[in-house]
């Protein structure tokens, strides 16, 4: 009857107030159609580096905590380094072991049960979408 998944740290992260950026360079929105959850992610970027990140989540605690961690971790990262970090995080989550790598390091403590992995992934998917819409725009 372990409720370990919902550690105080996670609950605090989930309750954290997050805010949209006033003038983002790129915005991405991802839905989880199965539960109706939605994550919006804003990035400000200068010279290939994330200078600020904002957003909002309508979702469960895991989804909100995931976004909060992401917003903490993103500023200062190079765009170049992000795809590999996303991939690592995705794989760790899927493996059911912890080790959510750099991006979601706070969630490392507990394996995420499979039915809930999608919740944690939603903010990452928004990030991925933001990156791909950036690169599309660059090429145009």
């Amino acid at each position: 009857m372990s409720e370990a998944l919902y550690s105080d740290k996670i609950l605090a992260l989930a309750a954290r107030k997050v805010a949209r950026l006033p003038k983002p360079d790129v915005t991405a929105v991802r839905n989880n159609p199965l539960c109706g959850d939605r994550v919006t992610l804003d990035l400000a970027i200068a010279e290939g580096i994330v200078t600020a990140a904002g957003g909002e989540a309508r979702g469960c605690a895991l989804c909100c905590a995931g976004l909060a961690v992401l917003l903490d971790d993103l500023p200062g990262q190079t765009l170049e380094s992000l795809p590999a970090q996303i991939e690592t995080a995705r794989r760790s989550i899927a493996m059911g072991v912890s080790g959510l790598a750099v991006v979601l390091s706070v969630l490392q403590e507990r394996p995420i049960p499979r039915p809930r992995q999608k919740c944690v992934l939603l903010p990452l998917e928004a990030l991925q979408e933001a990156l791909s819409s950036l690169s599309t725009n660059t090429h145009e």
Partner: protein
């Protein structure tokens, strides 16, 4: 509250999943609306069939095959009796309700519907009774009408009537019991109204067959579908009842062996219903298991099952009413077997996970009924649904676990 079943122990003991010495000891299972657990009688009927009587059916001249065929066809007769169909020719074995509805859309809809016709559903449908009609709409230019949700969570009867008025509706198809809320629809009245307006009627009985007797002739419907796995039977098998006169006008669905009379490369002739609609080797063991499930339900009897559920519903309603911040979705004038609710400050998925930590299995999400939840301004709820093995205590455990979740999500005062 008395839930005693005379002359036998409480049926929960028939279900090995609840074995107190087994791997799921202490399980509170409140997800029978998604799928019901299986009694030993069903599990053993299937394994006994494989171990002692297995053969492919219909084509074998040897005893084993003839006996298997008799058993398979015997279940067809049994299902006809279970639904009070006029004849066993009206019973088609399908994979489940989803396939049954798709079969109607294809084999009846493709030939009998044309641009300008309408199909009427309700706002309370499962995706399985929405998407096949959308596909038909997009392919054939028919109109898909949706009878609105009433304030009380039932069907808006006036809207249902209004949407039949112009006589364009050729098929009205609605759920017997809404899987996302437990609302029992007045299916006999809706059927009579739709038939009077010149439409055929299909009923999605998925959530009904395990909870109340169904009499397709009394209902007057043309089609009735259900899945065995919600009736304590195996996965992979379900029933499409079709009125013979209607089935006879329908094109085959899947094609191949077992549904043809003669095959030549230039021309093929099909068998009569029900064989016309059963191509290939069917789920023979699944059918045998369905027969055992119907026997099992019959051994308890509807009076006990209905009284048991009535008592459980009353108890559950009382218990849930006492949980502050819990909002129950309305289920119209009559509720059956299902409570769908939200809890202030706790996301349904978090609630589901925390309930699981308390060994309470419920479903969280949109319950394959996104449009209905949207009507309530929601994208997800938590749903507790009942089977005949549930006990009043299950609601106590549910409520206790909900309170624990609420405590977790209440901002701590320092």
């Amino acid at each position: 509250m008395s839930l005693v079943l005379h002359n036998r122990p409480h049926p929960k003991a028939d279900f090995p999943i609840f074995d107190p010495a087994g791997p799921n000891a202490g399980l509170t299972y409140l997800d029978s609306g998604a799928s019901a657990q299986k009694p030993t009688q069903v599990i053993e009927a299937v394994s006994r069939f494989y171990a002692t009587g297995y053969a492919n059916i219909h084509r074998g001249v040897y005893k084993l095959s003839a006996t298997a065929t008799d058993a398979y066809e015997g279940v067809r007769a049994q299902v006809a009796t279970f639904l009070n169909a006029a004849s066993e020719q009206e019973i088609i074995f399908v994979r489940g309700a989803t396939e049954g509805l798709n079969l109607i859309a294809h084999s009846w809809g493709q030939t009998h519907l044309q641009a300008g016709d309408a199909v009427l559903i309700t706002a309370l449908e499962h995706h399985a009774n929405i998407v096949p009609w959308q596909i038909l709409r997009d392919q054939k230019g028919i109109e898909l009408r949706v009878a609105a949700l009433a304030e009380d969570g039932g069907v808006d009867r006036a809207d249902f009537t209004a949407k039949l008025a112009d006589g364009k509706v050729k098929l009205a198809t609605f759920t017997h019991i809404a899987n996302a809320t437990g609302a029992v629809l007045p299916v006999a009245e809706l059927t009579a109204e739709a038939k009077a307006a010149g439409a055929l009627v299909a009923i999605d009985g998925c959530q009904a067959v395990a909870h109340r007797p169904v009499d397709v002739q009394a209902l007057g419907c043309d089609f009735y579908v259900f899945s065995a796995h919600k009736l304590y039977g195996p996965t992979g098998i379900g029933i499409l009842y079709g009125r013979l006169a209607v089935l006879e006008t329908m094109q085959p669905y899947q094609t191949g062996g077992d549904m043809v009379a003669t095959v030549r490369f230039d021309k093929t002739e099909f068998l009569d219903p029900p064989q016309r609609f059963e191509a290939g080797t069917p789920d023979i063991a699944g059918v045998i298991g369905l027969g055992a499930a119907i026997d099992y339900v019959g051994s308890l009897g509807w009076p006990w099952i209905e009284a048991h559920e009535k008592a459980l519903l009353a108890y559950g309603e009382a218990v849930l009413a006492k949980v502050p911040g819990l909002t129950l979705l309305p289920a119209g004038p009559h509720r059956s077997g299902i409570f769908s609710f939200t809890v202030d400050g706790v996301h349904p998925h978090d609630l589901g996970t925390i309930l699981d930590h308390h060994n309470v299995a419920i479903r969280a999400g949109s319950h394959c009924a996104q449009p209905l939840l949207n009507e309530f301004g929601l994208t997800a709820t938590v749903r507790a649904s009942l089977g005949l093995y549930n006990e009043p205590e299950d609601f106590d455990r549910l409520a206790e676990a909900v309170r624990a979740a609420q405590r977790m999500f209440t901002p701590k005062r320092a």
